[in-house]
């Protein structure tokens, strides 16, 4: 599903955030992306979501070279992905329901569909009873579950998570990972950037390791 071919990424201030990265992730896989701070994990995920563009090389997603995508098409790519962030990126002035509904509102779903899908997504992350709450009143783990519900509400085939458990204690982290495993079991491809090696070991999944922009384990 995902092919990286000789991918380089230079930032103006940092020459080699990624250097000649090559790997393949098959559909339905759940893969961890590790490496020390500054190794390029976030950069790699940003390239996939077209938050950044590659400096050279190609990224093939479902047979399409995403670098060739016009800027105006980027939103439509993002609607096919589920993005999950370390800092959750929730809107604090809207309640849980509206936060999860956002991708559907943007994509122009009907009120009825939105209700149905949002409820289903919230049910999966066990937060149906909090739909009227404001994110600020929720714990870190709950906020991250809202973030996950928002990422899966569009039923994406690919989930990208950048340090999804970075701000959570080990127990909550385990809970979140179990959620990811559940989604993976029904066929969603998942790529998770994390430096929580203990957690990664427990889950026994394929791991990609970056070191100063280079791939060291595939």
């Amino acid at each position: 599903m995902i092919y990286f071919e000789h991918v380089y990424k230079h930032y103006p201030a940092h020459r080699d955030a990624l250097r000649d990265v090559n790997f393949h992730i098959a559909a339905g896989e759940m893969v961890f992306l590790t490496g020390q701070s500054g190794a390029g994990k976030s950069t790699l995920l940003k390239l996939l979501a077209l938050i950044e563009r590659v400096s050279s090389g190609q990224i093939i997603l479902s047979g399409k070279n995403i670098n060739k995508l016009k800027n105006s098409s980027i939103p439509f790519l993002r609607r096919k992905l589920g993005l999950i962030f370390q800092d959750y990126q929730l809107l604090m002035d809207r309640n849980v329901f509206d936060n999860v509904a956002l991708p559907l509102v943007i994509a122009g779903y009907s009120q009825k569909d939105i209700k149905k899908r949002v409820r289903a997504a919230l049910d999966k992350v066990n937060l149906l009873h909090k739909e009227k709450s404001c994110p600020i009143t929720l714990s870190g783990g709950e906020q991250q579950r809202v973030g996950i519900a928002r990422a899966v509400v569009n039923k994406p085939a690919l989930l990208l998570a950048d340090e999804p458990t970075g701000n959570l204690d080990p127990e909550l982290s385990k809970e979140i990972m179990n959620l990811f495993e559940e989604f993976n079991r029904v066929g969603v491809t998942i790529l998770i950037a994390s430096h929580d090696l203990y957690l990664i070991q427990q889950l026994q999944k394929r791991t990609i390791r970056l070191q100063q922009g280079c791939l060291v384990t595939i």
Binding site: F85, Q89, D93, I106, G108, N154
Partner: protein, 321 residues
């Protein structure tokens, strides 16, 4: 759940999308309306600045329109005013009057004595007390000549005028049509000035709305980023800001209407008294309906344009990071 990503654009069916686009616009309209009410002070300040800016040209225009309407009946009244020399005694005045009556083309001669003129001036000018302190009446005798109504030809009128000018007792002869012509050129100058003022104040409104929208964009930076991350198009992100501009314009326009009509109301009594000096029963009118409508629509358009300019300039400064 599918296992492959298909990079196609359409998610919901097309017909459905048409409906939902309309629904999105309606929702954005309502949402921005509510948001503006949530920050009443900021909204009121912006609307007030717009309202004041627009009320000045709109108010001046309304006044001028009415001044023009008020003066138009005079177009048919070609008076000639004859101001007599101060030293002329009553006997000569009466003799002159008799002579004038023998002239052709004169319909009516009205004699206004200095006492009458002073009284009229005292009643309507508001300078009553100042006039009381005068030692003697500075006003001359005046004859107002109404030419025959058949005398509509300007040349004939001017002929009569030059005949009248030759009498030695007459200090100043005034063909009031000249005065009217001057008034009309003055009106034109005012119209041009109002046009210039309108342009300047429209620019002010654009700047005010642009700046307000820029601040709105700053305040919504996080929301914009989240929307971009979950696949919001630029159009989706722009929409609420454009509606905001529209609302600011509507509020500002309505406020301008209020300000103009409020000012007209305040001016009504003094203007009525002033018009009475011309024996006119006319009154200052409020803004006509179509002008009101035009003002609000213009204001709305200015709001929209200001918002479009601000959004185009500032929205892509917001980068995902």
């Amino acid at each position: 759940m599918s296992t492959e990503i298909v990079l196609r654009r359409t998610t919901p069916p097309v017909l459905h999308q048409m409906q939902s686009i309309l629904f999105c616009h309606w929702k954005a309209l309502l949402m921005t309306f509510k948001e503006l009410l949530n920050t009443p002070v900021a909204t009121i300040v912006t609307a007030t600045v717009i309202g004041i800016s627009l009320s000045l040209p709109a108010g001046l225009y309304t006044l001028l329109q009415q001044a023009k309407a008020f003066s138009s009946p005079w177009q048919d009244m070609n008076h000639i005013s004859l101001f007599l020399k101060k030293e002329t005694d009553l006997e000569s005045i009466n003799k002159l009057r008799t002579t004038l009556q023998t002239l052709p083309h004169i319909e009516k001669i009205t004699h206004i004595t200095p006492q009458q003129a002073l009284q009229e001036f005292r009643d309507y000018s508001g300078f009553g007390e100042a006039l009381d302190s005068l030692q003697h009446n500075p006003l001359p005798h005046v004859f107002i000549i109404d030419p025959q109504l058949t005398l509509h030809n300007k040349q004939q009128l001017e002929q009569l005028f030059s005949t009248l000018k030759t009498f030695p007792e007459i200090d100043i002869a005034q063909l009031d049509i000249e005065w009217l012509q001057r008034l009309y050129s003055l009106f034109n100058i005012f119209y041009q000035s109002i046009l210039l003022i309108s342009i300047l104040f429209s620019l002010t409104v654009l700047l005010v709305i642009g700046n307000t929208i820029r601040l709105n964009i700053e305040n919504k930076k996080e929301e914009i980023i989240v929307i971009k991350l979950v696949g919001g198009t630029n159009r989706f992100i722009r929409r609420p800001f454009l509606y905001r501009g529209l609302w600011y314009g509507v509020y500002g326009g309505l406020l301008a209407v209020l300000l103009v009509n409020g000012s007209l109301w305040v001016l009504q009594t003094p203007v009525k008294d002033f018009l009475l000096t011309y024996n006119s029963p006319l009154q200052l009118q409020f803004m006509p309906v179509h002008d009101t409508f035009l003002l609000v629509v213009m204001s709305m358009l200015l709001g929209l344009i200001g918002a479009i300019l601000a959004v185009n300039k500032h929205l892509h400064n917001i980068e995902l990071e």
